[in-house]
């Protein structure tokens, strides 16, 4: 038996993301165990609730390490990951995270690995679509003033000069904000050509609903979350027309993902989203890398994973061809998606960068 710990946002504000991630992890663990485990060892999955509180997540990581884990999975919220990755690093513990904040791989921590690439990689793809695809110049930016949103915001603002955008409205919002009336009104009166939305799921949906209510007729683009299935479910018709860049989506024209999504739906009774896929991939990363080195050795695990490329053909659980660089950052193909009639539609497949 080999023990794997998943520290995730099972309660608190991040439960939506963390719980889905955890279900993805569970699905993969079941599959791997059914197929004989890793190096013949069955995986024993231990879950730890970070309560979406960075301090608790730190304690939980500490606890997971104390209680013995081979590799660590989690957390999803960047605000937690930046904290608890320090502990994992001190203990030489490889950590596979679902966070997408650019800062995480920028800290020179040799033990951290992503399951989806950071916002700094996705946003240029979106920006060029805004500029070239839509011809937008005046942009309104609506972002969550949290660790998560801040990362996306900084990454996007870094691109403004390169693309020659003019930011006509800069609207930070609160965590778990429910009332977006003033934010929409501000965007509306700013004279923007397009809106860049970088919020978490419910907030994205609330923003879209309010925008619809106030008849805000602007193209609204975002990264991953804005056009996720969850947001579409929540916002209903108001989500139509939103578009964005997606690293992972259950709608991707990739058979392996479709298959995984179907299994997920069957197992848990709701649709998989990018967080589910991330958790799923995380487990398979552990399997493939361990099998490559042939033993359970954390040091070697981290060493091997740095700079590794896994192709989906021989490693089906990884779903798409993926490479990791020296910092733990990863790259693979991604997609441009638009919401049409309440469903994601892939408009473009973008190459890995």
């Amino acid at each position: 038996q080999v023990k794997i710990a998943d520290v995730a946002e099972l309660s608190g504000a991040g439960a939506a993301a963390g719980a889905v991630w955890h279900d993805g992890v569970k699905l993969a663990v079941e599959e791997v165990n059914a197929a004989g485990g890793i190096l013949g060892e069955q995986i024993e999955l231990a879950e730890y609730d970070s309560q979406t509180d960075p301090q608790i997540s730190r304690a939980m990581v500490q606890k997971a390490i104390d209680e013995g884990t081979y590799v660590l999975l989690g957390t999803v919220y960047s605000s937690s990951t930046v904290v608890n990755m320090l502990v994992a690093q001190q203990n030489g513990m490889p950590q596979i995270t679902g966070s997408e904040s650019p800062t995480i791989t920028a800290k020179g921590n040799p033990y951290i690995f992503r399951t989806a690439f950071g916002a700094q990689k996705g946003l240029p793809k979106l920006a060029s679509y805004l500029k070239d695809g839509l011809g937008a110049e005046k942009i309104a930016v609506v972002w969550a003033n949290t660790e998560f949103g801040r990362g996306g915001y900084d990454a996007f603002m870094g691109l403004v000069d390169d693309f020659g955008f003019e930011i006509v409205a800069d609207v930070p919002t609160e965590q778990a904000q429910v009332d977006f009336a003033s934010d929409v009104a501000k965007v509306k009166s700013s004279g923007a050509d397009a809106v860049f939305v970088y919020l978490t799921e419910e907030e994205s949906a609330r923003f879209l609903i309010e925008a619809n209510k106030q008849s805000l007729d602007l193209p609204m683009g975002g990264d991953t979350v804005l056009i996720s299935q969850k947001v579409i479910d929540l916002a209903g018709d108001a989500a139509n027309g939103a578009f964005g860049h997606v690293g992972l989506t259950a709608e991707a024209p990739v058979p392996a993902i479709k298959e995984m999504a179907a299994k997920f739906q069957e197992e848990f009774g709701y649709g998989a989203d990018h967080n589910a896929i991330k958790g799923y991939i995380g487990v398979y990363m552990i399997k493939y890398v361990t099998e490559q080195i042939g033993e359970f050795d954390r040091e070697k695990f981290a060493e091997t994973l740095r700079g590794l490329c896994l192709d989906a053909e021989t490693h089906p659980g990884i779903l798409m061809d993926t490479c990791w660089d020296e910092t733990g950052e990863m790259s693979r193909e991604s997609f441009l998606v638009e919401v049409v009639d309440g469903a994601q539609q892939i408009t473009q497949t973008l190459p890995a960068n």
Partner: protein, 292 residues
Amino acid sequence: MSEFFQLIVSGLSTGSIYALAAVGFTLLWQASQTINFAQGEFVMLPAFLVLALSVKLGFPLWLAMPLAIILAVLILGVLFKRLVVEPMIKHGTLPLVIATIALGVLLKEMVKEFYSPLGQPFPSLFPQDVVTIFGAVISIPDIANFVIAMGAIVALQLFLGGTRTGRSMQATAQNPDVAQILGVDIKRMVLYTFMINGALAAIASILITPIYLAKFSNGETLGLIAFIAAIVGGFNQIRGALVGGLLIGIIDNLSATYVSAEYRQALPLILLIVIILIRPQGLLGTSEGRTV
């Protein structure tokens, strides 16, 4: 200008719902000196009752909503009063405050565990059509929210001030010992207030959730706003809570737009601190009278 007007209109619409929550808050304070830190969760829960009835049990919406209100009155009114408040009412405010904090956690966790940790879409009672006045877009739900909330509050005010039951409730609130000696059935009076609060919370919930979405954690923000609105209004006045709710709705919108979005929460708070320090009894509250 149209932006300004838009902000006022939106502020009034959400503000009226804050007012509903705040009025309930004030009522509980009056009846039992309960500062209900679970008030936000009280507004969060009924939406999930509607969802459970309609989505999970397949009731039609027109039936699910009244049923949910009744359930809310039973759970948040009768049950809450019987199980939590009654045993503690003699012991002052603090234990009750703590119990309501714990109750808030309990409700949140139960919804999360037994329904879903994810946000849920919620059907709107009203068509989504809009009218445009002076460049501001006003939706039918906005108008309906405002009218229903006002109606509920005015009715309540008349009931409390104009009937003997209402005054017995006030007496119970101010001096339960005396009320008891005079033969007021204080338990029943307290029960009434809790039931009314349950109903108000349910109405607020059904009105606000189509926009805010049903999520277990929604109560955190709402509860706080209700508390603030009740304070501004003066805590011992129904119409104070009304004014407080509307004011918060508008100030929040205006300050987020014209002052600083990063400090959007700050301005209403600072303003309120100033109000309180100038008028310690709140905007419409009355002073507690002679102390010596």
